[in-house]
């Protein structure tokens, strides 16, 4: 038994090291001087930190505009997912059977199952026809469409935990469905809404395929900027690592906040807690 415990610890510790090392390596590269980056053996701790890379990143043309785009699109699409998603998820949670449930669930799984590119080819064509190419609003809508099923599954698991008795007593008082939903259900499900909101934000924040196809200069998002470093002839790892860090750090901070819901959220749609 002792051997097994030691083995487990060893396994978990080395896996943790492997999980964190790339993150550490990006952050440390982002605060290294060129000389310290382009050297062997690699410098892990023995360098003097500098913010040069961040300085050159932040002074990049349009950096802040792109950062703002990312925030705006993430926020907008998350809001849509929460409003539409909570309504639909409530119906799913409370009515096991209704007309149209099957097809809707099928559509939701299809969104999850289909590679984004299959939908984005026609979306690209349609939106350039309607003058919606490179529009932030179009991006918000597409992000929301792609993430809505995920939001519904996740919210559903939260709504199902609310005892039905609470609603029954409200019904006796004559509250309408919608009133009951907004005044009673949503406040109780608030933690679930927050958790879902954060998860959908993560998905939107990380999204790359949609903006790389649908965004030009006006609606460009952070992942597209990060990716654009790679196409430059000279690979300048410092600012690149700074850009990657700027994308990654908000996520790491968020995950610390949402530890409680992490497991439920990450496995939603696949298993039920």
């Amino acid at each position: 038994m002792k051997v097994r415990t030691t083995f487990s610890y060893l396994l978990l510790a080395s896996a943790s090291f492997l999980s964190l090392f790339p993150l550490f390596w990006t952050i440390s590269t982002s605060i290294k001087d060129r000389v310290d980056t382009y050297t062997l053996p690699p410098k892990f701790f023995n360098f003097s930190p500098t913010f040069k890379n961040y300085h050159s990143l932040f002074s990049m043309d349009k950096f802040w505009e792109i950062y703002w785009n990312s925030i705006l699109i993430t926020f907008g699409s998350t809001l849509i997912c929460l409003v539409l998603g909570s309504l639909a998820a409530y119906a799913f949670a409370r009515k096991p059977k209704f007309r149209g449930r099957g097809p809707l669930e099928g559509l939701m799984i299809a969104v999850r199952a289909l590679p984004g590119i299959v939908l984005l080819l026609p979306i690209y064509k349609l939106s350039s026809y309607f003058g919606l190419y490179d529009s932030k609003i179009a991006l918000i809508l597409i992000y929301a469409g792609f993430n809505l099923p995920f939001a519904i599954w996740l919210l559903m698991s939260f709504f199902e935990q609310i005892p039905i008795e609470i609603e029954e007593s409200a019904r006796v008082d004559g509250a309408s469905n919608f009133r009951m939903f907004t005044k009673i259900i949503l406040p109780i499900a608030a933690p679930g809404l927050v958790a879902t909101g954060i998860f959908v934000s993560l998905l939107s924040w990380n999204e790359f395929l949609i903006p790389v196809i649908m965004a030009g200069e006006n609606a460009k998002t952070l992942p597209v900027l990060v990716a654009s470093f790679i196409s430059n002839r000279t690979l300048d790892w410092g600012p690149m690592a700074a850009a990657a860090t700027v994308a990654l750090v908000p996520i790491v901070l968020l995950t610390v906040v949402i530890q409680r819901w992490l497991v439920a959220g990450l496995s939603s749609g696949a298993v039920k807690e």
Partner: protein, 302 residues
């Protein structure tokens, strides 16, 4: 108050049925939204796969029937990229599922510090794939990469990781595994937690060894979850794009181009939108069986 109580109570039975029904209408906004953002594009995609739209040409598109499909099915790239997708999928699954199970088993022992380990191990799956790809690209660098440096310590010669097909596929599978193993681990852990401890007790009383318990008790019980994971992973491999795009762009040549990336290239690099749409329909057809299996399986797990 008292008079009111008797009134609504009489109607409450009736209004209960009436009240419950409108809840289904709460899905209407979702219907409309998914109709506009998903269903219409999908149908339109099928439609343009029968036209000859080229994004570089200004000629009006015309209907050409199944020509795009025939061209796509005749093109060697379609089959070679399909093969590459298959190779990545099979080897990816062979790496990710066993490692995910092992980590889940280690977490399931509920040792001290398990929560912290779990939080750390989950982190990779949350990170921006594009940024992850960049990080790994730096680590895989032939001259400056940490990986080659470490191999150098073991007196192994420098490898040009992203320069040849085999090593580049290897690198892609490593990066995808780094981000995907946590997902496998979490789902298996959820399945393990659902197994009643009394089953283990009984097995131990009967004198079963640890490996016997795993093979005859744990494994059969987590098999449904493993099937769900396999299906989701197959879909994810079909979707694989971000890290691939950053690491190799499908190169050298098309040596690491998957079917999904090939569809992207056809549409947005070679600008053959209609042909890409035909490829897209084929990709959708390939994912169809997995889709139905998932529908069935997710009902089972639920």
């Amino acid at each position: 108050m008292v008079t009111k109580l008797s009134g609504p109570r009489a109607t409450s039975k009736r209004s209960k049925g009436k009240n419950l029904r409108p809840v289904a209408h709460f899905t209407v906004p979702t219907w409309i939204f998914l109709f506009l953002t998903i269903l219409i594009p999908f149908i339109y995609g099928i439609y343009i796969s029968f036209l000859n739209i080229n994004l570089a040409s200004f000629l009006p598109a015309s209907f050409i029937g199944f020509d795009n499909y025939l061209n796509v099915l005749r093109a060697p790239e379609t089959w070679s990229t399909f093969q590459i997708t298959l190779v990545i999928t099979v080897f990816g699954l062979l790496v990710q599922i066993p490692l995910g199970i092992i980590l889940a088993l280690a977490l399931h022992e509920n040792l001290r510090g398990t929560k912290i380990f779990r939080s750390i191990l989950i982190t990779p799956m949350l990170l921006t794939p594009v940024a992850v790809g960049l990080t790994y690209r730096f680590m895989f660098d032939t001259d400056l990469g940490v990986l080659n440096w470490m191999l150098g310590l073991l007196n192994i010669e420098k490898v040009n990781w992203l320069g040849s097909q085999t090593s580049a596929l290897f690198a892609i599978i490593i990066v995808d595994s780094w981000q995907s193993i946590p997902f496998v681990m979490l789902l298996v852990l959820a399945a393990l937690t659902a197994i009643s401890p009394s089953l283990y007790e009984a097995a131990r009383v009967d004198g079963a060894s640890s490996s016997q318990i795993f093979r005859n008790l744990t494994l059969p019980l987590i098999t449904p979850t493993l099937l769900v994971i396999t299906m989701i992973k197959i879909m994810d491999f079909l979707k694989l794009f971000d890290t691939l795009f950053i690491l190799t762009r499908g190169g050298p040549g098309n040596a690491t181009t998957t079917l999904g990336l090939w569809t992207y290239k056809t549409g947005f690099i070679f600008l053959e939108l209609s042909r890409a749409a035909a490829l897209g329909v084929i990709v959708a057809i390939i994912s169809l069986p997995v889709y139905f299996l998932w529908r069935k399986a997710s009902k089972g797990v639920r």
